[in-house]
Amino acid sequence: MDQPDDQPEDVVPILVVDDHDENLVAMRGILGRPGYRLVTARSGNEALKHVLKDDFAVILLDVLMPGMDGFETAGLIRTREASRHTPIIFLTAAGADLAMVERGYAVGAVDYLFKPLNAEMVRAKVGVFVDLFRKARQMRRQEELLRTAERDRNAAAIRESEALYEASFNGAAVGIAHVTSDGRWLRANPRFAQTIGYGPADLLNMHIADVVHPVDLTDDRVGLRRLFEGELDTYRREERYLHKDGHVVWVDQTVSPLRDASGKVKNLIFLIEDITNRRDAKKRERLLAGVSQLLLQSLDHPADMAGVAKLVVGSLGEWCVIGTIEGREGRERPTGKPAVAHADPRLAASADRLRSALAVSAAYAGSLTSRTTLTSLTANADLRAAWNVDGALLAELGVNVALSLPFVTHDRVLGRVTFLSAEAFGPGEVLTAHDVTQRIALALDNARLHREAEDAVRARDEFLSIASHELRTPLTPLRIQFQRMLDERGQLVVGRAERMQPILQRCERQVRRLETLIENLLDVSRITTGKMSLEVSEVDLGAVVRDVIFRFSRELAAAGCQLSLSLGDDGALVGRWDRLRMEQVVTNLVGNAIKYAPGKPIEITVSPGDAFGCTARLTIRDHGTGIPPSDLERIFQRFHRVVAASSISGLGLGLFIAKQIVDAHGGSISVESSGEGTQFVLDFPLRGTVEATPIPPDGGQKISMGSHPGPGPALLGLNDPGVWS
């Protein structure tokens, strides 16, 4: 029972009930002492009112009272729970009969005091109950204190547990969120929100359908309903969530029910772990392995871009467009139509339309040579600009973003792949796209190297065959001439010196022919290894040309070629050149003119190459059938012969060697040709780079000629004497 606040703790209330004022006054006299608070009542009714308000240590109750007597009053006091055990001492006149005393005990009296009252007796009896009361009160208080202490302890434990729960929820390394039965997010921990790019509070206004991929949500529907209905304890699935910026996040999702006290499912607990990286890595591995395998299969022919495009769609967006280019740098053109693939076979018609549109789009062809990497462009607007194709066609594709990457190897652009998708590409996908692109680039480069190596081998084989033919041809008359000089016993045929002379002269010519051939082969070897050097001195270009023409007198006459030489009247054009190499160049060009235009006039002009006296120009023009345009680009390459190997003899090295020599002099050589003949124009510097190098002590100025990339002498077998045996 709570004490009224104004009552000191050790003050004990005592109720005295008597209808006689003098008795009440007497009782005050007896019990008026510190620690006692005396409450008096003149009737049973008044006493009951006090009992309702107060908890008394003892009640002194007069038995004989008008109206409600003591017994009746005691009975009523006992009916009240709070006062059921309050000790009651009856006050009665001495000599009361036994029956009355018994009745008093029956209604709950604990004792009697007889009038006239003995003050000591009253004090003693009351004192006993006051002590009891005090003890009881003290025990109650202690009990109260204990209860309070326990309550405080419990409250602290609850607070601690709540804090712990809060901390685990917020600090968990997995995403946790609660969803209501109508699909709203009730709460989400930071990891959950962060996984899909939101703040925890953002989700509270959102629905599960705003986050879970529509396809997966449809699949989830049954599972979630069964959880709510208590048929399932957990529901686990890998599924796609939509990140705030639109890309897909793969999560391992476990859903379990959250029940209320009655065991009814109130909400669902969603537990998610981001497995995008794991999934992407696995997917990337599989995809790249597939791409590599496909590309390796097609090393010896143009790589199967259609196959690659088909393979990547579905994994990297829904559409894939691959275009490659061919041709020399600066003159590239697309290799056929681009490869276009879509994940959905029903869109084959759109893919065909796109392929045809891109095949005729100059903008698309131009984009293939660009080095720009375009990451996640807004597909429709940007693609229309980049590809210049019909906007309606692009709308048909149903894409929103594009990722477009160039193939670059050895600093050369080989083409471009464009991935198109309805949804944004995640960082993992961008990485994969780069990997795929790099593998295609490598495959294209490998294919190119393979092609070049094959070409080189073919050129070498052809060259060896031609070289063999060319070397055997002069050997034939040589052998016959030697046989003519010996009889069948191997003895020298004697006494016919006049017959021997022309034979020996012919032999000498064959030997010179062989020497020239071998010299040419060695020149190629020197050029390819960078070992050809120039020995420069003062050389008159006109004089060189005159000497060469003189040596061709017999051939010119035999071929019926009329040669005219114009040296101009500006005086000699003298430069610092290698005379023998200059002769070699002129010899090659005049020899070609005779070989390819027999019976036709040849015109040679030597003149200043410019108005400032910086260069000397040599022009050699024949009137043959000309060189087809397709061959013009390549005639300065090694082993290139304009006419099929079976018809015109020669190693096909002359123009290659001539160009290397002209280049080494810092000059230039060009060719023009039509059906009416061919004209070679050569410009040599009169002063310049050649002068810059000091003359070495051995007298001749040595200038190394540039190493020529491509198959060297080892591949050609030029250094292997066995090849020629």
Binding site: H469, T476, R484, D487, V643
Partner: protein
């Protein structure tokens, strides 16, 4: 190289198709020393022209044919000879500097640089064949 006499019965004609002037000249000289009539041809075209215009009496007894010739190759000449019934049995001796793609169904194939005695023996045999 021994000097062997040509068999009796007048001059035998040899068509010599070879584009290399040095080879053509020296072979012609040797054959003429042996008493053959030599018709030199610098290209396959010239050889075919001769075969087309020559009447039966002027028909060559032996054809010496280089395979690599400009304008019309030895292969084309060989093809033409095979399609002419009147030239069906004419001996053909091939001269070649390459070792691959040898023609078949010819009298002989000589690889450059060849032995002139071997050529002379083949011509002698060839002439004998046509006679029989």
């Amino acid at each position: 190289m021994g000097v062997s006499e040509q068999g009796s019965g007048g001059c035998k004609t040899v068509l010599l198709a070879e584009d290399d002037q040095d080879i053509r000249d020296v072979v012609q000289e040797v054959l003429e020393e042996r008493g053959y009539d030599v018709i030199p041809a610098r290209t396959g075209r010239q050889a075919l022209d001769f075969l087309a215009t020559a009447d039966v009496d002027a028909r060559p007894d032996v054809v010496i044919l280089d395979l690599m010739m400009p304008i019309v190759t030895g292969w084309q000449v060989l093809e033409e000879i095979r399609q002419r019934p009147d030239l069906e049995n004419i001996p053909v001796i091939i001269l070649t500097a390459v070792s691959q793609d040898m023609p078949t169904g010819v009298t002989a194939v000589l690889r450059k640089p060849f032995n002139i005695d071997e050529l002379l023996a083949l011509i002698r045999d060839g002439v004998g064949v046509t006679r029989s």
